[in-house]
Subunit: 347 residues, 2 copies
């Protein structure tokens, strides 16, 4: 039995989305049970033999500053869900709440895994091969060192091997050219570290990839600084919504174009399905001593249920153990790759 | 009369594209004349009262390393075109050749403008307002300091005021959140510098923008590090070509979908026109003591002609003078913003 702790109050829609998604999820998965975390009065209507309410009196709102979420709302549904993982009552926690708060609370409650300096957020981006390319880090860390990028490669490899069943997923280093001499000094150093890691078999390194390779599906994993990753993700969202808006406008221009829309409907539906980000909902917070997943804040029932399934798959395929195992295998490299302490000058 | 020096041999298609584009351009612009730079035998067929051949015996290929282009091909069409600007025979040079080589040669031949540490590449990205958002830098500089980002803001403002007639175009700083406290230390410092510059009226600063704002058209200009800008540009290209590929596949799946494609053709054509990157072809190399534009390497006749028109507009609207004038106005800030020399410790 795999147990998920669900922050039922988080996200843009709260229980309106999370509860129907939980019901759907329980129907699809016989060997899963749920801890529904939130205000008991909001969850009272939900009855299922494999679900139990865990009360939490507060809610972290989408625009709560991290400090407020962390220090002033100690009985939030987000925090209590993560505490279920910490205490061993649940195998994984899932929230659609505020990403910054979720990462801060998860880090505070669960602590960072040994050998990892900074946890990272890994998103699956749909690719033209019909699957998804896992990108990390997507916003948790700015100013990453080469060592951090190596850690992300190790974490991402564990995630993809757990979720997609590929034992040695291919890792690409996001850069501005394929040649090893491209990029900043830090990126070049990261390339060297990743090549060393590949020689010892800890990861399967492809080399440098560029921004378009994510969508080509050149590698299973793309590793980057959180700043660059966040820009790439937002750029993707911006372009997709611009194209969708243009399509809507053009198809509703006049009677003829509306008829054309009717004719094209099945095709556009098939297209939408192929690039539907809801199917790939569920980002992993990696590098912690417990499993936490993050759903998109605006997720609907279908999208939230997809995120639940990803969290469930990660837990039942032993993601945490896989991460530990890869970190252990990578330990000699992570140790020798540890950032040198800054030279301190005494005047 | 505005004179353009055209590298007729550059790009994926060379004279097959550049010569027909030149012919089209001359038809559209009575007060422009062209210097056609390249191998005389390849240009012999082109006769026009406002065009003259300037011979150059060599060609920089798309995959020539920068060193080869710069040191071994001193009589390349790319270099000779830029030398026409240096010598005052032309107002602006345009090439569809290898970007790295073009920037290196332009920098070597023309030198960097006073007050500017590093030239930048500015690309117009189509936005949902029907216009374009100018992004810079897109790949010329990795590891930018706050001072470089301020310089890019000054350069970009001069470009957009020259091309779009907006006297005070709005500048956004690409970041991972709107709040001033977001981002790396360097980005936060850049925000402070840009706010100072806005107070003195040198630029019109909006504040932080995110990856999706480029397509929303929130600001006229988006300023970023060349690494981040290159990733954003390639991500855009990658997603656009994935969606285009999916559309083609879905519409050619069977007889019914092919009929739907016929019905939807005018709408898809209108959509394509709206996001057609060819319309916005023509990146500016800014911060040099002369004007150089870069066309996409794969440009067709229409796209190359658009790039010619941008180069022509920039020259006749006095872009070089506007850059100089803005740099002069910004000089007190650029001077006090000059990077502090690293503290040297004597042991």
């Amino acid at each position: 039995m795999t147990i998920l702790a669900i922050d039922c109050m988080g996200g843009d829609h709260g229980t309106q989305v999370t509860l129907p998604a939980c019901r759907q999820f329980l129907k699809q998965h016989d060997d899963a049970s749920l801890l529904l975390v939130g205000q008991p009065e909001a969850l009272a209507g939900f009855a299922h033999p494999r679900a139990r309410v865990v009360p939490a009196s507060e809610i972290v709102s989408m625009d709560d500053p991290v400090e407020v979420a962390l220090r002033r709302k100690k009985d939030s549904s987000m925090r209590v869900a993560i505490e279920q993982v910490k205490g061993g009552q649940a195998d994984v926690a899932l929230s659609a709440g505020n990403t910054g708060a979720l990462m801060a609370i998860a880090r505070y409650v669960l602590k960072t895994a040994e050998g990892i300096d900074r946890p990272a957020i890994a998103y699956p981006m749909p690719n033209s091969k019909g699957g998804a390319t896992t990108m990390l880090d997507l916003g948790a860390n700015v100013d990453c060192t080469a060592e951090h990028l190596l850690q992300f490669a190790v974490l991402g490899s564990a995630l993809v091997s757990a979720l997609n069943g590929k034992p040695d997923p291919l890792v690409g280093l996001l850069n501005i050219g394929e040649e090893a001499i491209k990029g900043s000094e830090e990126i070049k150093r990261a390339g060297e570290l990743l090549r060393q890691a590949a020689q010892t078999g800890v990861i399967n390194f492809y080399g440098n990839v560029e921004g378009n390779d994510t969508f080509k599906g050149t590698t299973d994993i793309v590793v980057c600084d959180g700043f660059v990753g966040n820009v790439a993700l937002k750029t993707t969202e911006g372009l997709a919504s611009m194209i969708a808006g243009f399509l809507r406008e053009e198809f509703s221009r006049n009677l003829l174009t509306k008829l054309a829309a009717l004719a094209a409907m099945p095709v556009l539906g098939a297209l939408k399905k192929r690039i539907d980000p809801r199917r790939h909902n569920g980002a992993a917070l990696l590098g912690l001593r417990g499993l936490v997943f993050k759903s998109h804040g605006g997720a609907d029932e279908f999208a939230f249920c997809c995120a639940m399934t990803r969290a469930y798959d990660a837990a039942r395929h032993g993601l945490l153990g896989r991460v530990q195992e890869r970190i252990t295998r990578a330990a000699p490299l992570l140790a020798c790759a540890a950032p040198q302490p800054a030279v301190t000058t005494t005047n």
